[in-house]
């Protein structure tokens, strides 16, 4: 495991974790820089096990893990002081008001009771629960509960915030608020975020970097912008009118044309210039309303990675 500790958020080196006959993490090695990290993977790929390993909640069978420069085996408690965790489960105590719940979370981290209460009010303001802070938590909506858990996780101003499926079961408005908060914390509040989700648009809205796991192994890792690389010679085109004749001409010229909704995905022959698209449009008196080089979507990146693994298996 090499590299400057300050430039590494966490690093796993050949970490293996098994539950009986099931291997949840299979010699997983990954090194992640600070920032907003998306954690992707199909069900059973080892996402939750990886999060629990980072928190020191479960002992790995083999390998080494370091979080914020500290060894997970030796300094679990110190690591947890610097991490905020929003679990996937509801896990709210009934019978307490929102502000009490958040203050209690602060006290569990080690904040003095008075500081915890004061800070609870501040973070509840931040997550937009000011008006309902004295209500019992069981009366909160799903979105409110998620934001309450987020408030409890950031009360001690952690260096790393781990969000495990934070938008599950939320309505669109609540989801938008949650994503806005996660994005703001990651990009404007100097807090690294590990965002685990099945929802690729959510990950894309918040994160700069992704890790894709499959069968306990690392499938893909990298900056989202870089992974969504430009496809050379491939273009997205939208016309003002129906472009059947336009498509036909391009096909005759050796292009591969594919219709996706109101968009045409056109792959021009190697060595050809994009000007041929304009020429074909002019020949058929078509107006090009949209023309840009084609990029992979995050969905394609994800599916390709998962399919590659399936083929190898």
């Amino acid at each position: 495991m090499s590299g400057n500790a300050a430039s590494i958020l966490f690093a796993l080196e050949k970490v293996t974790k098994t539950y009986g006959a099931i291997t949840a993490l299979d010699e997983l090695s990954v090194c992640v820089p600070p920032g907003a990290i998306g954690l992707l993977g199909p069900n059973g790929s080892g996402k939750t096990t990886m999060i629990r390993t980072l928190l020191g909640l479960i002992p790995a069978n083999g390998g080494r893990a370091r979080v914020l420069g500290m060894d997970v085996r030796r300094r679990q408690l110190d690591i947890r002081r610097l991490i905020g965790f929003v679990p996937e489960d509801e896990c709210l105590f009934p019978g307490v008001a929102g502000v009490e719940f958040v203050a209690y979370a602060g006290e569990l981290v080690g904040m003095p009771a008075r500081d915890a209460m004061q800070r609870a009010h501040e973070v509840l303001d931040y997550v937009g629960l000011t008006e309902v802070r004295y209500r019992q938590v069981e009366s909160y909506s799903a979105g409110m509960k998620q934001r309450l858990k987020l408030a409890a996780a950031i009360i001690h101003d952690p260096k790393l915030l781990i969000l495990d499926e934070p938008t599950n079961g939320m309505d669109p408005a609540g989801r938008k608020d949650m994503l806005a908060l996660a994005h703001d914390l990651a990009h404007h509040k100097n807090m690294s975020v590990l965002f685990s989700s099945h929802l690729l648009p959510d990950v894309e809205a918040v994160c700069d970097h992704i890790i894709v796991l499959g069968a306990g192994q690392l499938l893909v890792q990298g900056n989202i912008r870089e992974l969504k690389a430009v496809h050379p010679g491939s273009f997205e085109v939208r016309l003002k009118e129906d472009g059947t004749s336009f498509s036909q001409q391009l096909t005759d010229l050796g292009c591969a044309v594919q219709r996706r909704g109101d968009m045409l995905l056109i792959q021009i022959p190697s060595g050809a210039a994009p000007a041929m698209l304009w020429q074909a449009a002019a020949a058929h008196q078509q107006q090009i309303r949209h023309l840009r080089s084609q990029r992979s979507t995050l969905e394609e990146v994800f599916l390709n990675a998962v399919e590659r693994t399936s083929c190898q298996l």
Partner: protein
């Protein structure tokens, strides 16, 4: 206004160390439990015996000062012998021990009720709402979690067992003739505090173990009732049967010829049977293990040793003019006479079992969902 525009301030305060982290759990648990009106009423009721204890010790101090008012008050106490009242200074230690013995006898009942109210939900509720990640994703060890939960039980039991015992002791000293009474009774104070801690820790660990067995606190409450109530009933029934058998050992049933002449032994009471047993040996009913089946009797037996109540009864029984009178007094009030360490072993076994259950039930999150 978008919610993110409402700002976020970084926090630069200092976090405390791990040593007292469990106190946060205890404080929170006590705060939540105190919201129950029923619990508050039970706490109020549980302090009535404490008032009686304070009054008794204070009155005994007045009696030592030859106050007529106190003498009138003391006459109402059933265990008083005229010889005791005649020399209150000499019997001060014994009377204090007996007063504490009665106090703990009554408070043990309230302690069981308090645990029934406070204890069942301590861990089962966390299991039901999946709250363990909330605890263990923070800088808490399992031992902190258990200590914090145990602290809730110890706090409530301490409020009705230990605190009143200490306050009563202080009042007793204030009303005494001189401070030499400290020499005679300081061991009692230590014993009372130790007994209070024993009840709190033993019962606390037991209810935590039961609470860790399930997610439904009602079932846990039923288990606790079973442990307390049913074990006491079973123990009492078996003890009664044993006493009945003892009666036939020392007074065999009448033969047919005796029945013909109507001269068989007259029926004995249970106390008579115990007293007749006592005559045979110096330690009455010395190997009767049946009381061990009752959880509260085990606590009481170790408590009797810590408070020295049996010794106090022996001292007072010497005032009885006849040997049979002494034996009858001891059989009636002296409590269980089997060796105290039997009960200590039972309680230690239950404590070990509780630790095993807790250790197996709450293994952080090392399992698949």
């Amino acid at each position: 206004m978008p919610i993110i525009d409402q700002g976020y301030q970084h926090w630069s305060g200092r976090l405390t160390g791990h040593r007292w982290r469990w106190l946060a759990i205890t404080r929170h648990g006590v705060k939540i439990a105190m919201r129950s009106y029923f619990l508050r009423y039970v706490l109020l009721a549980a302090w009535v015996p404490a008032l009686v204890l304070v009054t008794t010790l204070s009155a005994w101090g007045l009696l030592e000062r030859k106050s007529k008012m106190a003498r009138t008050f003391i006459q109402f106490m059933q265990f008083m012998n005229p010889g005791v009242v005649a020399d209150p200074r000499h019997y001060c230690g014994a009377v204090w021990r007996l007063a504490y013995g009665y106090f703990f006898h009554v408070e043990l009942f309230f302690a069981m009720i308090l645990i029934l109210i406070v204890g069942p939900g301590l861990i089962s509720r966390d299991l039901r709402v999946n709250a363990l990640p909330l605890y263990f994703s923070r800088p808490l060890r399992r031992v902190d979690y258990f200590l914090g939960k145990l602290g809730v039980v110890v706090t409530f039991l301490g409020m009705v067992l230990i605190v009143p015992a200490v306050i009563a002791y202080i009042f007793g000293l204030l009303f005494s003739v001189d401070l030499t009474v400290v020499r005679d009774t300081f061991g009692l104070l230590i014993g009372a505090v130790a007994y209070g801690l024993l009840i709190s820790v033993s019962a606390g660990m037991l209810i935590l173990a039961l609470s860790a067995l399930g997610r439904n606190s009602r079932y846990v409450a039923l288990l606790w009732l079973g442990l307390w109530f049913v074990s006491s009933v079973v123990s009492s029934v078996l003890t009664a049967v044993h006493h009945q058998q003892q009666r036939y050992v020392y007074h065999p049933p009448p033969t047919s010829s005796e029945l013909m002449t109507r001269q068989g032994p007259k029926p004995l009471t249970m106390n008579d049977a115990a007293a007749s047993t006592a005559k045979k040996s110096d330690v009455p009913v010395s190997r009767n293990w049946r009381a061990l089946l009752s959880y509260t009797t085990n606590l009481s037996r170790v408590g009797a040793k810590l408070l020295g109540t049996n010794a106090a009864w022996k001292q007072i029984s010497l005032l009885e003019p006849t040997a049979s009178g002494r034996h009858r007094l001891l059989a009636r009030f002296g409590g269980p006479w089997y060796p105290w360490y039997w009960s200590a072993i039972v309680l230690a076994g239950l404590l070990g079992l509780s630790l095993c259950v807790l250790n197996l039930s709450i293994r952080t999150l090392d399992r698949l969902k």
